[in-house]
């Protein structure tokens, strides 16, 4: 039977055919390409075509759809200027045993002297609750900083955990003496809080010039969350570029820049806001990373394929490029198992340097096709085109095409 299937597979596949890629909702492909006049030169790298395929366990559960990016937060961060220390540092606590981390911030290029670094003395902190009651001492503010000689962390940092007896609500933290002139960054970690903010996008990679959008939700909280105050901005990988975003309702949105240079690393959304949830004030900060893609290349819609004399499946992709560079085609091959269920059987990869638009052929050998155990139609899923020269994901197709 197996031999028959192999013969059938060999005979039924003809010399060459082509198929159109199937773009569906959620798939990503550039509508137009940037050209080499508008982008910096291509970095050096591997010039040869390199390919590698390997078999997959057909039981592997693979998420083919674009998942988007999401981040969870049970912390918030604020920066306090020295002059505002006199009125105290406002702390909103939504869970017991919150950890408060204070850090003296030196301006860029300046270092903190030893005296300044020791300007925050934990035993001089006083916490005032909303009823004007004072709390101080190690029993309520448990220091998380050991003796300096233990080299726990740098001197300009202090941290303490609030006693569970303090409960939740609004507090003010007072430092009765602060000899430094630098601002203090205050971070509050609320590991035990039931209020976990999720910031999520539907995409992992945005194209330059597109609209960025992210949703704010509190996990497991069905009641309407009211945004008191919020600010959000995008930060470039090198930190030099900041773009203000709008926060409307529970959504962050704004326009992404059109880039002429591409920095290694990721862009980030920085969000800081306060919410009212079931009558309780909750503060949260969040950082979310995403890729910003300059469209340097894309697939041509038609793919050629054939089975060669050696029984290999040859897939031939047209690659249209706007900028020379090294481009990679990567995807998953699915086939039908004995129960006629489509299962993943292989990963295929091939990359080559393109000076101009052209084609990339990759071969999947008989061993990887596992003809004895699986049969067509073969489906190509999770197909991506990447620009390796600039570390960009250019296209993603969930269910790209079938080879019959």
């Amino acid at each position: 039977m197996k031999l028959f299937l192999i013969l059938f597979a060999s005979l039924s596949l003809h010399a060459g055919d082509s198929v159109k890629m199937n773009f569906q909702k959620g798939d990503r492909a550039p509508l137009s390409l940037i050209n080499s006049k508008t982008i910096e030169s291509t970095p050096a790298g591997e010039q040869a075509q390199v390919s590698l395929n390997w078999k997959l366990d057909p039981a592997t559960e693979i998420n083919l759809k674009n998942q988007g990016m999401s981040t969870l937060s049970k912390y918030y961060r604020q920066t306090i200027e020295p002059e505002s220390l006199f009125s105290g540092i406002p702390l909103t606590i939504s869970a017991k045993e919150a950890v408060v981390h204070l850090q003296i911030l030196a301006p860029k290029g300046e270092s903190i002297s030893r005296d300044d670094a020791n300007a925050i003395q934990l035993d001089r902190l006083i916490l005032v609750d909303s009823k004007e009651s004072l709390h101080e001492g190690a029993a309520v503010l448990e220091a998380l900083r050991p003796d300096q000689k233990e080299r726990a962390w740098s001197a300009s940092n202090s941290a303490f955990r609030l006693s569970s007896s303090l409960g939740t609500g609004s507090f003010t933290l007072h430092l009765d003496e602060y000899g430094a002139t630098f601002p203090i960054q205050v971070t509050v970690f609320e590991k035990q809080s039931p209020f976990e903010l999720e910031v999520a996008t539907t995409l992992t990679n945005f194209y330059a010039g597109e609209t960025f959008q992210a949703d704010l939700t509190f996990k497991g909280n069905e009641k309407q969350d009211f945004v008191h105050t919020a600010q959000a901005y995008l930060v470039s990988p090198d930190g030099r570029q900041r773009i203000a975003m709008r926060v409307a309702g529970n959504q962050v949105m704004g326009s992404l820049p059109r880039l002429a240079s591409i920095q290694p690393g990721l862009w980030e959304l920085h969000f800081d806001g306060s919410f009212e949830i079931a009558g309780q004030k909750v503060q949260r900060s969040a950082r979310l990373a995403f890729g910003l893609t300059v469209p340097t290349g894309r697939f041509e819609p038609m793919v050629n394929y054939h089975f060669n004399k050696e029984g290999q499946l040859a897939l031939d992709f047209g690659i249209e490029i706007g900028v020379p560079g090294r481009y990679e085609v990567k995807g998953l091959l699915y086939a039908m198992n004995a129960e006629k269920k489509s299962v993943p059987i292989a990963v295929f990869n091939s990359a080559a340097f393109f000076k101009q638009s052209g084609r990339m052929e990759l071969l999947i050998d008989k061993e990887t096709l596992q003809l004895a155990d699986f049969q067509g139609p073969y489906q190509v899923k999770g197909l991506t085109l990447k620009d390796q020269s600039r570390m960009q994901v250019l296209s993603h197709l969930t269910d790209a095409f079938s080879v019959n």
Binding site: P146, A152, W153, S154, Q185, T204, G265, L332, V347
Partner: protein, 282 residues
Amino acid sequence: MRMCLFALLVIGSVSVMAQTGVAFVHGTGHQTDAYNDYWKPEFVQTVIQGLPNTSNYTVINCDFEQYMWTSDAAGCLADSLYQFITSKNINDLVVITHSNGGNVMRWILSNPTWDSRYPVIIDKIRWVNALAPSSLGTPLANAVTEGTVFEQSLGWLLGYGNDAVKMQQTHWMSYYNQNWLLGTSGRPSTPKGFWSIVGTDVETSIFDPDSYCGGYTLNLGLEITQAWLDNCSDGFLDCSSQAGAGSVWYYDHQFTDGDEPLSHNQSRRKCFGLAELLRDDL
């Protein structure tokens, strides 16, 4: 499971004499003498006793303060592994990584078309033993990126404000795992096995001699960092991050002497039977 896989590999290559080698891949940092500084001789010398030829080992020295894909990081690692494989005719390579070294190795496994040496290296690898890999990043990298906190306690792990720290932020690793790295949940597997050892706790009692294995002050720093981490962590990484890619080989207490946990510092040291476990795996 691992032994079954290895048995299959051996049976499949009976006609070829296995020339087994082992490579030690350090974590974040720019190493120039990782043998003495990062791993320590007693650890390496114990592990290589499992080799038929104890000279078939290499200790990698690269700049893992860079992004994993750069020529100073993955490029340097590929250079070193390729030279080791070709000069010693290694055809059965076990790679032992620690911390961020697992990410750099997983970069090579996940992106074999990046460099023509990558497929050659992958072909020779039996599997990767990833000691406490930072596969899903760490909240401490998030904290470090926005300030100087932990600069002394974690300087030996992270360096200061470098790209590798940025990359190991949890939200950055989430992106790279979805787009550029294989082996995490919902993603295709790597072409060769990626087996992690997970450290679950840090013990730093001044009265407990076990706290001194690997260095007391380093372990103490790690206990403090646990305030930022899950209940299950090795002081630098949540267990979920260490177990986030490939397959878990062991949680520390499943194999260590006295069921001791391995802190992030101890998972690269000759502590509680770790080196012997790796030796016997060869």
